[in-house]
Amino acid sequence: MPKRALLMHEGDDVVTVIEAVAAGETVRVATKAGAYACELVSLEDVPRFHKVCLSPLAPHDLVRKYGEVIGEATAPIERGAYVHTHNIASLKTGVRA
C-alpha cells in the first residue's frame, strides 16, 4: 500500500504526508478534494504530517504550499526529499547577518 500525502494547492512545491514514510516507499498524492494527483518515491524517512518535495528546488528558490510562499530553499532539494527547517527558511523572520 502506498503511503498517503496531501497536495493543498495546484502548483505547490511540497506535499504533506499523512502517515510516516520510510526511505524508498511510494507516496500517493491526493488533492484536498481527494482526487489522485501523482505518485512519488520518498528519498528519506519523513515523520507524519511533515513535508516531501514534489518539484526540485535550488537554493533561494521560493517554496510554495497552500498556493502561497512559505519560505525559500536553503539547499538543493530533490523530488522525494524531506523538506523542513534543515533545507527551507522563512523570508520574514530572523535577524539577517
Partner: protein, 389 residues
C-alpha cells in the same frame, strides 16, 4: 439559541459575576471571594501596578471592557488600594460605561485581607442573587462575537482544524455576527492576502501597519523570532516556517471581508470579520478577545493544549487524530476526518457549528468543565530593571 439579555441589548451565553482584581496584590482575596460564592468567577491580574505608558492604557482598557463583556452580569472590583489601576476610579468608569451593577472594595480600606474577603463575599452574594433572577431569552447566531485562536499548532491545524473553524466563522458572519482573528505574529507572511480582503483602503493600511510594525520591532530589537515562532512543538509537528504556520492559521477566520482592525482588548465597532492585534502567546491573545467582548472562542490545537478562560467557554478543535485520542479530556472536537479523507471540511464545519450552538445554550466544553481559568493581560512596557543577562 438562548442567552442572557444585557441592558445594552447584547446577549451573554454565560451569566457570571466577575470578581476582578485590579492588581496582582489582590489576587488571593479575589480568588477566595469567588470560590465562596456560586456564580462568581475571579479574574486574577498579572500586573495592575508599576505600569507605564501604553502598558497602563492597555490594562485600563482591558479591565473596563471585561466588565462590559456580555457574559458578565455585574462586577466586583477588588483592589489593594495604592495601585496604578485605581480601583474606585475603575469602578466609577465601569458604572458610567453601562447599566450593569458594579461594586468595589480595597484591602487597605477594609482593614486587611480577612475583612476584605468578608465584605467581598457579602457584596458578591448580593450580585449573584440578582444575577440568578436573569433568565435566558431567544438570541441568534448573529448576536455572537466569536473569538478564534491557534495554540500548539502542527501541520494538521492548517490542513483541517482551521479550515473547519473557518466554516463556522463564515456562518457567524453571514448571520450578522462578529468573528475575531488575532495573533499578529502569526499573520506575518499573509498580510498581502488579508489586505486584499479588507473592506476599505484604511483597513488594508491598518493590517499592514500592525504586521509590518511588529516585524520592524523584532528587527529593531535584534530579536530572531525563529525558535519562538514557530515554537519547538510547531516544528516537531511539521511546520517549518512562520509563513507556513500563518497561512494555515488565517483560514480559521473564514473567507469574508475584513471589516476592521482593533487594538488589543478593544471592542469592535463593526460587525463581520475583524482582526485584533494580539500577541502569539495564547493566554494573552484569548484574554484580549474576551476583553473585546467575545462570548465564546474556538481554539485549534494540533499538539493539544488545555487552556480556557474564566469568562467565556473555549472550544478545542484538533485535526490530529493521535492528539484527540491522547488528550480526550481536553479536546472537544475531532476534525481529523478532513485529513484522513473520511469527512469533508463542510461536513465538519456544520458539525462544529452545532457544537458552538449547544455551548452557547449552556453545554460546557472541556476547558470550562475542568475549570481552566487561564487569564493574562498583555503588558508590553517593562522598564523598571535592566534584566540584562
Amino acid at each position: 439559541m438562548r442567552g442572557y439579555r444585557r441592558p445594552d441589548g447584547r446577549f451573554g451565553i454565560r451569566n457570571h459575576v466577575l470578581v476582578l482584581s485590579s492588581v496582582g496584590c489582590a489576587n488571593m482575596v479575589a480568588r477566595r471571594i469567588a470560590e465562596s460564592v456560586p456564580g462568581c468567577v475571579a479574574l486574577e491580574n498579572s500586573k495592575g501596578c508599576g505600569q507605564v505608558g501604553s502598558g497602563r492604557e492597555i490594562m485600563r482598557r482591558c479591565l473596563l471592557n471585561l466588565a462590559d463583556n456580555p457574559n458578565v452580569y455585574g462586577t466586583l472590583v477588588v483592589g489593594l488600594g495604592c495601585e496604578t489601576m485605581k480601583p474606585y476610579e475603575l469602578a466609577a468608569a465601569m458604572r458610567e460605561a453601562g447599566d450593569k451593577p458594579v461594586e468595589v472594595i480595597t484591602i487597605q480600606d477594609c482593614g486587611g485581607t480577612v475583612a476584605a474577603i468578608e465584605e467581598g463575599v457579602r457584596l458578591a452574594r448580593g450580585l449573584a442573587e440578582r444575577a440568578a433572577r436573569v433568565e435566558r431569552e431567544p438570541m441568534g447566531l448573529g448576536d455572537l462575537v466569536l473569538g478564534t485562536n491557534c495554540g500548539g499548532s502542527d501541520a494538521t491545524s492548517g490542513l483541517a482544524a482551521n479550515p473547519v473553524i473557518g466554516r463556522v466563522s463564515d456562518a457567524v458572519v453571514a448571520a450578522g455576527g462578529t468573528v475575531m482573528l488575532g495573533e499578529t505574529t502569526e499573520l506575518i507572511g499573509t498580510e498581502d492576502i488579508l489586505a486584499a480582503r479588507a473592506a476599505t483602503p484604511e483597513v488594508a493600511e491598518d493590517i499592514y501597519r500592525i504586521v509590518h510594525g511588529l516585524e520592524r520591532s523584532f528587527t529593531e530589537a535584534g530579536v530572531d523570532v525563529h525558535g519562538a515562532n514557530p515554537s519547538p512543538g510547531n516544528m516537531a509537528g511539521g511546520l517549518s516556517t512562520l509563513e507556513e504556520k500563518a497561512l494555515g492559521g488565517i483560514s480559521k477566520g473564514g473567507s469574508s471581508t475584513i471589516r476592521q482592525v482593533v487594538a488589543y482588548g478593544e471592542r469592535p465597532s463593526e460587525r463581520g470579520l475583524v482582526i485584533m492585534d494580539t500577541p502569539g502567546y495564547d493566554i494573552e491573545s484569548v484574554s484580549g478577545m474576551c476583553a473585546g467582548g467575545a462570548q465564546a472562542l474556538i481554539f485549534s490545537t494540533g499538539r493539544g493544549t488545555p487552556i480556557g478562560n474564566p469568562v467565556m467557554p473555549v472550544i478545542k478543535v484538533t485535526g490530529n487524530c493521535e492528539t484527540y485520542a491522547r488528550m480526550p479530556v481536553n479536546i472537544d472536537f475531532d476534525a481529523s476526518g478532513a485529513v484522513e479523507g473520511t469527512s469533508t471540511i463542510d461536513e465538519l464545519g456544520a458539525e462544529l457549528l452545532g457544537l458552538l450552538e449547544r455551548v452557547a445554550n449552556g453545554e460546557q466544553p472541556a476547558a470550562e468543565a475542568l475549570g481552566m481559568n487561564d487569564f493574562s493581560i498583555f503588558h508590553n512596557q517593562e522598564l523598571w530593571c535592566t534584566c540584562l543577562p
